[in-house]
Symmetry: C2
């Protein structure tokens, strides 16, 4: 069977576990460490594919969950697949819908076979199983598709902290204790492994689409280790760390990512899902992670929050009323290069003009892509410690 | 005093009163007949200046009313003027705010000196006079600025039709009868003439900005003639027809425009304000009009209505669900040239994605600019009657 994904490691840092590389897919290559803007419903909100490309983005992420609900995955298949549908003829990754089924539905129920949840569009009950998720992603036709996993919140509910009941739990290493929450996580891990096996078996486009497995386990390192063993026991083109940045502290994220990344196969791309702020990305890269996605640049862009190397600007602030400077001096994004001033962007934001979110989103995605460029150069040149000089936002406060 | 506007007529139709020309302003030239997209609050909704330019637009219109309220005309002056503010370094025209003061405010009151109305932003009472309107437009710094006129609705209120009381009214030709509404129009005409005089006298940037007078008079041709005499009695770089397309029939628009255009000076640009659909434009061009603005391409674009040479497509319609065609075959707009299908645009519209309005607006503005190109060619080549062959929407139904 031909290999639809190759990963060439071009530089290995002498300073930490970080590396640079090139991932090649049926729709072209992207450099790693890579940042993927999120095109939830088949568009990166407010941006044309040309505008997305001009930010330096080489791969984008789409949500299988949203596209399954509307316009429907078979509809997109009939239209020639998601690349043609949205006129983005470069690499695309789709998530499996597992996370959205849990996080967005009012009602959801999990059993050994799959998840049942209420459609956010018409309230009808939707059934997702590993097989159905892969079928959806086969229909969408992204270059990289994600396993459908059982992913309850990795952060222990506050209410459970108060009445934390411990259970005897047999682990590989003997007997350990676990809270009800940890017990639930353990069940979900084992189920995730069984589901991953079903995902792989039902994946009928293995010559065109690369399935990545997802390691879960919350903030419990024992559970993470168990999950890595289970997930990596199944041979796949790449592996992801899920269930991170769902409410825990930056230090906890860092600890979990460093521990888990180190256990993942070195020769395959490692994808950290849904992360994050600049220092989260830099820290994860140094731990050996290669791929990232996050809605921050576009969501914050629409809310008038502009990322800069010195931190975020809240463009609505009165101090920008007469500020003729661009968002960031020397920035080469289309917004700054066109000379759009902070005063103008503030005016557009206050006037609720669509163009505000568009121009700031362009700048923000470009900001993250510029960070990835500098990260890759710092790995190549073994100049990691100089990175915060150019990115003060990375400096310890 | 240097002349900030020149108008060169390049072709005079042998078939009708239409002509082509080039208007040159301090920020460059635009070809006539010209269509100006509307950038109400300092942006053509959802489009970057580059995207607007790529539609073929050479001049845009901004609303003095909206920019006066937010961010404020003095603010824009301090920021270097409206061209720099929105990074559109080509011709700009601002309207005077008169129309918006009447049409958008809940409360407004007119007296000999000016208009008082309630701000749509904070409810405060705003006072506009001819002098203040010109001051605002001087601050904004557009290449062409419009007179502040008294413009009550030109369409007679339905309720007044029922109890139509006639008044004796002395006109130049002797005694004629008029309804209360016509009497009000007559008063507003005379006031508009007095205000135009005040506009010209208070215009302190006559070497940089060209003031256009506005002919009113509703659908009454006697009043239109009277208004032309009063307005054109004041020497100005250009003249506009206002109070058209505010509810009257296409035939009535055509009659009023044809009658009035013929009375305007031939060597100066003639601007028909707020018009309109394709056949309104074509008919007005044949009557000798040179400039047009209308919100239709962008407003309809955001509502999912795409203009084509065969009429409008309502992109939400189920028939487009699997339609892989672009909005219009052979169209060279950025949306069609990028291959965005009707099915994709429908999906974006149904998903309330910003990109829907953006992509359809781009197509729609390009549609009107393509019509203007064909109109100019048809005048040059004296092939007017062939125009509907390429634009079936112009054919009689």
């Amino acid at each position: 069977m031909p290999q639809p994904l190759t990963f060439e490691i071009t530089n290995q840092s002498q300073e930490h576990a970080g590396r640079t590389g090139v991932v090649t897919t049926p729709h072209g290559s992207f450099q790693t460490p890579a940042f993927m803007p999120v095109g939830t419903r088949g568009s990166v909100k407010g941006l044309t594919p040309q505008q997305v490309r001009a930010t330096g983005s080489e791969i984008i992420l789409n949500n299988a969950y949203h596209l399954m609900l509307r316009p429907g995955d078979t509809q997109i298949a009939e239209l020639g697949g998601v690349h043609k549908f949205m006129q983005w003829n470069r690499p695309i990754l789709t998530d499996s819908g597992g996370y959205q089924a849990w996080s967005m539905a009012d009602i959801n129920q999990v059993d050994e076979d799959g998840v049942t949840f209420k459609s956010i569009i018409d309230g009808s009950m939707i059934r997702l199983t590993p097989e159905r998720s892969i079928e959806i992603q086969n229909n969408l036709g992204a270059d990289i598709i994600m396993a459908f996993d059982d992913c309850p919140s990795s952060v222990e509910p506050q209410t459970q902290n108060l009445a934390r009941r411990r259970h005897a739990l047999t682990s590989r290493d003997g007997v350990m204790t676990a809270s009800e929450h940890e017990l639930r996580l353990l069940q979900s891990l084992d189920r995730t492994a069984r589901w991953l096996d079903r995902c792989k078996k039902s994946h009928h486009r293995q010559d065109e689409q690369s399935l990545f497995g997802i390691v879960q386990g919350g903030t419990n390192l024992d559970l993470r280790e168990r999950s890595v063993e289970q997930v990596c026991n199944i041979e796949l083109p790449g592996y992801a760390i899920g269930g991170v940045a769902v409410g825990e502290s930056p230090e906890k994220i860092q600890e979990v990512v460093k521990f888990t990344a180190n256990l993942l196969p070195a020769q395959k791309p490692r994808y950290l899902m849904g992360v994050g702020y600049e220092r989260d990305l830099v820290s994860a890269v140094a731990s050996g992670m290669d791929m990232f996605d996050c809605v921050l640049p576009t969501r914050n862009g629409r809310n008038g929050h502009a990322f800069t190397r010195n931190g975020q600007l809240h463009i609505r602030n009165a101090c920008f009323k007469a500020d003729t400077r661009v968002l960031e001096e020397g920035c080469t994004c289309a917004t700054c290069a066109s000379g759009h001033s902070r005063a103008y962007l503030r005016h557009l934001y206050m006037s609720k003009e669509m163009l505000s979110g568009i121009l700031v989103s362009i700048h923000n995605i470009h900001h993250f892509q510029s960070l990835m460029i500098d990260i890759r150069l710092a790995i190549r040149d073994n100049s990691w410690s100089a990175l915060p000089n150019h990115w003060p936002v990375l400096q310890d406060s």
